[in-house]
Structure formats: structure tokens, C-alpha cells
């Protein structure tokens, strides 16, 4: 728990902590193992690895939070409205969601990232855009199914009988019952988003170089893995740590919001 807090602090206050600029290349200092000057060594261009890892983790965390946040908002809204209204609107929306589900995650992400997101000011915004689109159907499906279940509840029928306005019912009854499940979904998807962002950057479709990202650092390090494996080991270890931290955070989030209420 303490560990999580430390990492969270490090990530959010990165500009103060990172010893060097992540983009600055000191050519004469290439391929250094960790020493007094460069705490985690340097990469092929002489950039400090520690700073790059810090900035890269920060970017990954940002992208994950933003894209899951957008997917959550958009997905649950569509799902709730769809489940509430029912009828042909519901059928259409759920067919679209089914279709998006039929295409495997990475394939969809690659196709979107390669095609549209490249045009939408690529890099960070594009990655957020891609991951939001890929995750929204999950939230929509979960929200819609839960809304269907809530519709069966007696208190829902009672509220309708009392003449309550549909939007009031949605806000006051449906949404609070919806939140635990959707927060669970957020908890599952947050660490997953970090991995997807790293994978996209690794494939060259995510954050554009020279901006640091854990995935692209892995890609760059891979080329000379025989002579300088540290450049790959460091971001790999950092990635595992970040994902673990997010896993713990998600568990905490879930315990706080989901289990206690329901």
C-alpha cells in the first residue's frame, strides 16, 4: 500500500523528480550501465533511462486513465439509455456493440490506430482515442445488461407507478445500482489499458518517438539486446511494476466502491 503511494507520488510529480530531460541526448554518454550520474544508465542515444521511464510511465498512466474514463462515460451512457428505453434503439445499439466485440481487441486497436488515429493528431491523443473506442462496447454491454435487470426490480415499477419522470428514475435509481458493476469493470480494464498502450507503442502505433513510452523503449532496446540488455530490462521491469501498482489500485477502488455498497 505504501509502495503504491510512493509510486503514485513519483508519477505525478515527475518533473521535479526526473534528474534529466527525457529527450536530451548526450551522445558521449551512450550505453552506460547505472552509475552515480545516471541512476539507471543511458540508452543508445545517451538519454537517461530513469527519466524516460518516469515520463513514460506517467504518459502510460495518463493514457490509461483518460481512455478508460472516456470509455466509461460514453459506454455507460449509451448502455443505460439503451437498456432503459428498450425497443428498436436497444436492438440497434446492442448489435453494434456485438459487432465491435466480434473483432479481437488488438486487431481492432491496430486497425483504428493505423487508420484513423494517425490523422487525429497522432501519438497520445490518437492512442487515447483508439483505446476508448475499443473499450466502450464493454461498458455499454455491462451497463445495458444491468439496466435490464434493474427494470425487473419492484422499486422500479413502483417509481413508474408513482409517476416519476424517466430521467429522475435513471439518475436516482438506475445509476446508483449500476455503479458497482461498472466500477468493477473499470478495475479490470485499467491495468489492461496500460498493457494495451505499451503494446501499441511497441508496435509503433502508439505514442510517437521521441516522446518516451515504456512500449517504445522496449522496441528501441530490442534491436541491440545482445550487447546492452539493460536498456530493455529496465523498461520491462518498470512496466511490470506499473501494471502491478494499477492492479493494486484497482483492487482498492473495487473494495471501496463495489463490495461495500452491494
Amino acid at each position: 500500500m505504501l509502495f503504491v503511494l510512493i509510486v503514485a507520488l513519483l508519477l505525478s510529480l515527475t518533473p521535479s523528480f526526473a534528474p534529466y530531460s527525457p529527450l536530451q541526448m548526450n551522445s558521449k554518454d551512450r550505453f552506460r550501465m547505472p552509475d552515480m550520474h545516471y541512476l539507471l544508465g543511458t540508452d543508445r542515444y545517451g538519454r537517461d533511462i530513469l527519466s524516460r521511464i518516469l515520463y513514460g510511465s506517467r504518459t502510460s498512466a495518463l493514457i490509461a486513465l483518460a481512455s478508460v474514463g472516456i470509455a466509461f462515460t460514453a459506454g455507460t451512457t449509451i448502455g443505460t439509455v439503451s437498456g432503459f428505453v428498450g425497443g428498436w434503439i436497444d436492438t440497434i445499439f446492442m448489435r453494434v456493440v456485438d459487432i465491435l466485440f466480434a473483432i479481437p481487441l488488438m486487431v481492432l486497436a491496430i486497425v483504428i490506430a493505423g487508420t484513423i488515429a494517425g490523422g487525429v493528431a497522432g501519438g497520445i491523443k490518437g492512442t487515447i482515442f483508439t483505446i476508448s473506442i475499443v473499450y466502450s462496447p464493454i461498458f455499454a454491454r455491462v451497463a445495458r445488461n444491468t439496466t435490464w435487470l434493474i427494470r425487473e426490480e419492484p422499486f422500479f415499477e413502483a417509481a413508474r407507478a408513482l409517476g416519476a419522470d424517466p430521467s429522475w428514475i435513471m439518475l436516482k435509481h438506475v445509476v446508483p445500482n449500476l455503479l458497482p458493476i461498472c466500477i468493477s469493470q473499470v478495475a479490470i480494464l485499467l491495468p489492461n489499458a496500460i498493457v494495451v498502450e505499451a503494446a501499441l507503442s511497441f508496435l509503433g502505433l502508439g505514442v510517437n518517438p521521441p516522446y518516451p513510452s515504456l512500449g517504445s523503449m522496449l522496441q528501441e532496446g530490442r534491436i541491440y539486446i545482445d550487447i546492452f540488455p539493460w536498456a530493455t530490462v529496465a523498461p520491462a521491469a518498470a512496466l511490470v511494476i506499473v501494471v502491478l501498482v494499477f492492479n493494486i489500485l484497482s483492487e482498492l477502488l473495487e473494495q471501496r466502491f463495489s463490495s461495500k455498497r452491494r
Binding site: P104, R222, I225, D226, V233, V240
Partner: protein
């Protein structure tokens, strides 16, 4: 039962049809004009550009183009690659078989790792040591993406795989060479399956019939194997069907890392080269594969649990 399967089949076909429509739309939005890409330098000449556009059928309205593509695809004609001019179907088919084999290999490894591990972790669930080991291993397994395992293996020197012979020509060599990449995906998918199997089996342990079995005097091993494990497999199989999509995705990244001659790498290459017929073909094939896998899982669930047949 038959009507259930038929309904699922119809739903799957519909899904494939609309999914390919979505993919076609996405690919159509790709920046870059295919005629220009194909012509290269000649694209500056407007007459040649117009001729190329007409030849590729780009001046027809969107739905007409889509229907043409779909009907051609059904007969096996997926167009020609923009880069090489070769028919797309030929390029994709050999890679498709490779990816199919690789995917099944990864799935097999995942199951070989996860199912015995789940069995053992439930069998020795009393021991605190066992529970701690389980927690640590599943945390690490889930936190580490496939390509990190791949990089670990690469740095250990399992790098140059050389030419991988087909499964039919020399199966042993094929399997040994593919073991390293398959393990990368296998560990990640296996951990997810392990967690799911374990949680469903833990739920079953609460059931009264387990205490009955023990009271009857059955050995613990037998209780676990006969009752807990088999009943626990039902939701796990559903989960494996859902995970299949993730398996395919993981395969894509690992293929790139180990430079395997599969569809994942083809997808990436063609996306970066703006070779849109190939992108469309690969994405559609993967979707079909995924939909077929889901269909089979649905049918299997219908066989195992009769209540599902009435949905």
C-alpha cells in the same frame, strides 16, 4: 438442440457480415489514396490517376464497392495487394494457416499450464504457503504482457529461430522452434484461465454436495477431480471462448516480436504500408476465426448445460 445451433449459426453469419462492413468502413477512412499508392510516381498524371481509380473501382459509390468486395471475398477473390500486385488470398492463406497453428499451440500450452495448476492450487488450498505462491504467481503472470516475456526469452538467447518448417513436413522441429513464442502467450492466457478456473472451483467448494462426498469417505483427490474440477470447468470453458479473442491479439504482438511468418505481422506491415486490401482481408479473417471460435464455445455450452439451449 438443433434449433439452438441453427440460431447461433445465423447470428454468427450476421455478425461476420456486419463486422466486415465496419472494417471496410474503417479501412476506407485510411489516409492515402490506393490508386496513388499503386501508381507511385505516375500519380502526378491526372489521366493515369483517373484510369487507375476506374480500374480499382474507386469511383463507384461506397455500398457498391462493399458489396463487390464481399461477393468476391465469398468466392475467394480478395483483390490484389497494392504493394506487390500479388493476389491477396494467396499471401494471406499461408500466413493464416501458420497463425491458426500457432494460436492452437499457444492455447494448448496455456491449458497445460493452467488446468493442472488450478487443480493443484485447489487440492492444497488449506496450506498458506500454497495460497501465497498462487497469489504471487498470478499477479506476476497477469501483470507481465506477452512481449515482455518475449523480450526476456530473446535476451536469454532464444532469438534467431530461422526458417520454421511447416507442421506437416517436420512436426518436431516446428514445435520446438515455436515453443519459445508460444510460451509467451501461453503464460499470459494461462494465468487468466487459471484465475477463472480457481475462482469457479472455489465457489463449488462451498456447495453441500462436496461435504457429502467427503462424508461418504471419498479420498480428497477423487472429490476434487470428480466433482469440483469437472463442474468448475463449465464456466471456465465459456471464459476460454472469450479469452480466444485476447489470445489472437496476443499472438499478433508476439509474431511481430519473434518475426514469425504469421498474420499479425502481415497486418502490421500492411497497415504501415497502407496496403488496404491486405489489411481488410487479414482483419476480416481474424474476425471470422474469432466468431467461429465463439460459435463452437456456444455450442459446447449448449451441450454441457441444457438450460442454455432455450436462450
Amino acid at each position: 438442440m438443433v434449433s439452438y445451433v441453427l440460431r447461433r449459426l445465423v447470428a454468427s453469419c450476421l455478425t461476420i457480415f456486419v463486422a466486415t462492413l465496419v472494417l471496410y468502413t474503417l479501412v476506407d477512412l485510411m489516409p492515402g489514396d490506393p490508386a496513388q499508392i499503386m501508381l507511385g510516381v505516375d500519380a502526378a498524371d491526372p489521366i493515369k490517376l483517373q484510369a487507375a481509380r476506374h480500374q480499382l473501382g474507386l469511383d463507384k459509390p461506397f455500398l457498391a464497392r462493399y458489396c463487390d468486395w464481399f461477393l468476391n471475398a465469398l468466392t475467394g477473390n480478395l483483390g490484389n495487394s497494392l504493394q506487390s500486385g500479388q493476389p491477396v488470398a494467396g499471401i494471406v492463406m499461408e500466413r493464416f494457416l501458420f497463425t491458426l497453428e500457432f494460436t492452437l499451440y499457444c492455447l494448448a500450452i496455456a491449458l497445460c499450464i493452467s488446468l493442472p495448476a488450478a487443480f493443484l492450487s485447489i487440492r492444497f488450498n488449506e496450506s498458506h504457503v500454497c495460497r501465497m505462491i498462487t497469489r504471487i504467481m498470478s499477479s506476476i503472470g497477469l501483470a507481465t504482457p506477452e512481449f515482455v516475456w518475449g523480450l526476456v526469452l530473446l535476451s536469454l538467447g532464444w532469438a534467431s529461430l530461422g526458417k520454421i518448417p511447416s507442421l506437416f513436413h517436420s512436426p518436431v522441429e516446428n514445435l520446438t522452434k515455436l515453443f519459445a513464442p508460444a510460451i509467451c502467450v501461453g503464460i499470459v492466457v494461462g494465468t487468466a484461465v487459471f484465475k477463472m478456473a480457481r475462482s469457479s472451483m472455489l465457489q463449488i467448494m462451498e456447495a453441500p454436495y462436496i461435504s457429502t462426498a467427503r462424508a461418504k469417505g471419498l479420498a480428497e483427490n477423487v472429490v476434487i477431480e470428480r466433482h469440483v474440477f469437472r463442474n468448475g470447468m463449465i464456466p471456465t470453458i465459456t471464459f476460454i471462448g472469450i479469452e480466444f479473442g485476447y489470445l489472437l491479439s496476443g499472438v499478433v504482438v508476439t509474431e511481430t516480436l519473434f518475426a514469425l511468418p504469421g498474420m499479425g505481422r502481415l497486418l502490421l506491415q500492411s497497415v504501415s504500408q497502407r496496403d488496404y486490401p491486405v489489411v481488410l482481408a487479414v482483419a476480416s479473417l481474424v474476425t471470422v476465426l474469432f466468431t467461429v471460435a465463439n460459435l463452437m464455445v456456444d455450442v459446447l455450452c449448449g451441450i454441457l448445460d441444457p438450460r442454455i439451449r432455450y436462450t
